[in-house]
Symmetry: C2
Subunit: 373 residues, 2 copies
């Protein structure tokens, strides 16, 4: 490796003065690399292996400063987890530091980006000119035959994608292998009747090797894709799955990750975390809690995530924004207008509330999606 | 499994009134299990598979409420990651929810607890009546022979434990396998001269299977223990490593985890997260940023972590509190008085600043540790 290669990270720092901000920025540059008192760092290491403060300036608001720190690529050692460690490792334990940008072009051999992305999923589904619909198979506690019955109704209603609820793992109420077999059979039965085959994404999230075992089962049974919660499995999981054959599209779920984005002066901006970072991790679709539902993101946060997942200047393939978390079936038209074609709209609970039953609810949702444009 | 078994989680909720707190508590109970509008949950599922609010009461401070929610154990499916998903999955995306307690006795077959713990590490080291000393091998960027030279000096100074810096992975400057061989040889040379063999904990944190490969190398080369960053590898890693032979003691590093504890109204209390939870995950030693160093924990936070790692009523073996993050060598006596015997004191940078060199610095540190009692 060329030892002079570097990558940059943008931080928003809360500080009482410009000089305090500069000092904090210099602390970050050392904390995230050599992690030693500056006077104890050998001169050769200071040159080759520590972060450098490139910019530190006031960022509009009082007490808010933007700094750009440039890190030596060699210190990341071509490892995704070590790269995250450099970006936000020890400093995750310091207040007043929020990450707002990462220079991805220097990191395109460490982070994989989506294997399929928006284009690949569209090709695999042969749907190119409209948004996609998705519903969630739930609740946990039902048996596999009860879940399969729900799959059948949703597939009959014509939904494009069914994903497992992220809380369905391998409980004795609905064991994983049998769930995939049974639900796929129900979807196949509906396909025989309607001519349209709904794509199924079982949830493979589990403890350590269990995630892999479930991925291999999903592959061998011919599932369309898989659902993964990266903050539970470890952030490098999707990169590893991309070394298999066939690679299944990965839909990423935000469970257990909220702490990284819920503090305005700490962590990551939502668009950087769910947009840039999860796209870089390799998620072909990123679920996030839509504005106006049960969670607290603003419409601005959501637009930011959408933009980051789809923007052209990234070195990675585009990833499908997948807003969910309490979208009402009655308001879907509004969200289609706002978020546009390259979106997977995820409606779960609201469909189950429909007085006419699940198949009718899904059909109404699907009609709105297919009316696009 | 007996379907009536349950486990409890204590949450601190920020709300404007008691009735709002009750509504939030009921939302949590459903969000973390069935995740559906209440009117869409089948009655059998509501009985068997959703959370129940057991208590919801004001908690001293205005706007702060304590609630206890009881969850069905069957929904956790004997999986550690699914259990974390129930405790703080989707609700990590809602503001004003902080976890302050978990009923571990119902979870002792899902979480492993330490394999060695305080007693096991003491037996393995044959040191029973005093605190332990630990230093960090750094900085990243040095070659393996330079790092080994530092190991030799620290071992000559008599330190009990040397751990890798958590940023040393498998960089081309110091590849993992060769680093372990070279550093262990340096420690062996010092042991031949002093009669005392320092314990070495190489950092095995890496992307997915790389963590395992490094663990197997550490096992085969006879390393004493390993350093792991659970928030980078995935939280179930230590449980998986405990299925191997021999099991190496695991020292856990808090990098990338700060967001879970840095907000007073969100996430986990530090004592629950680094104390209870990381003990439950199986860490034999838990590194945390000590009060008065470069980070922001109060002495109260630190005492809380120490107590949680060592308290008798847990179903798990006790784990070694390992305060670090900027302890000065001059103040070590004070911290020994405060934290007591069952502590591993971690000093890194401050030793490297000593004008007399590393071996002298370590010897002074070690003398203070051995003067205990």
């Amino acid at each position: 490796m060329d030892n002079s290669q570097r990558f940059s990270v943008h931080y928003l720092i809360t500080a009482r003065s410009g000089s305090e901000a500069v000092k904090l920025a210099e602390d970050i540059a050392i904390e995230q690399t050599a992690e030693m008192p500056p006077d104890a760092i050998p001169e050769s290491i200071r040159q080759s292996s520590t972060g450098k403060v490139v910019i530190c300036k006031q960022a509009g608001k009082k007490n808010l400063y933007e700094t750009v720190i440039s890190y030596p690529l060699a210190v990341a050692g071509d490892e995704l987890s070590q790269c995250l460690n450099m970006i936000f490792g020890n400093i995750s334990l310091k207040p007043g530091i929020r990450i707002s940008g990462i220079g991805w072009h220097s990191l395109d051999r460490i982070f994989p980006g989506p294997y399929w992305g928006i284009g690949g999923i569209r090709d695999k589904l042969n749907i190119h000119h409209r948004p996609l619909s998705c519903s969630a198979l739930k609740p946990v506690g039902l048996s596999n035959s009860q879940l399969a019955n729900r799959c059948y109704q949703m597939a009959k209603g014509g939904v494009d994608i069914i994903k497992d609820d992220h809380g369905l793992v391998n409980q004795s109420s609905a064991p994983f292998h049998d769930r995939v077999v049974t639900c796929m059979a129900a979807i196949e039965k509906a396909a025989d009747e309607t001519g349209k085959r709904t794509a199924y994404f079982p949830n493979i999230t589990g403890d350590c090797f269990d995630t892999w075992r479930r991925y291999e089962i999903a592959q061998s049974l011919g599932a369309f894709g898989v659902l993964i919660s990266p903050q539970l499995t470890g952030m490098s999981i999707i990169k590893s799955l991309q070394d298999t054959d066939p690679v299944l599209p990965a839909m990423a779920h935000p469970t257990f990750s909220g702490s990284f984005v819920m503090n305005k002066e700490h962590g990551f901006t939502p668009s950087l975390y769910y947009g840039d970072l999860w796209r870089a991790l390799g998620a072909d679709s990123v679920i996030y809690p839509n504005s106006g539902g049960r969670f607290s993101f603003t419409e601005n946060d959501c637009e930011g995530i959408n933009n980051a997942l789809r923007q052209d200047t990234s070195p990675f393939r585009k990833s499908f924004p997948t807003p969910g978390g309490g979208i009402q079936r009655e308001s879907i038209g509004k969200w289609i207008d706002r978020y546009g074609k390259d979106t997977i709209f995820l409606i779960g609970g609201s469909l189950y509330q429909h007085k006419g039953g699940l198949e009718v609810a899904v059909r109404e949702f699907q009609d709105e999606i297919e009316d696009y444009g």
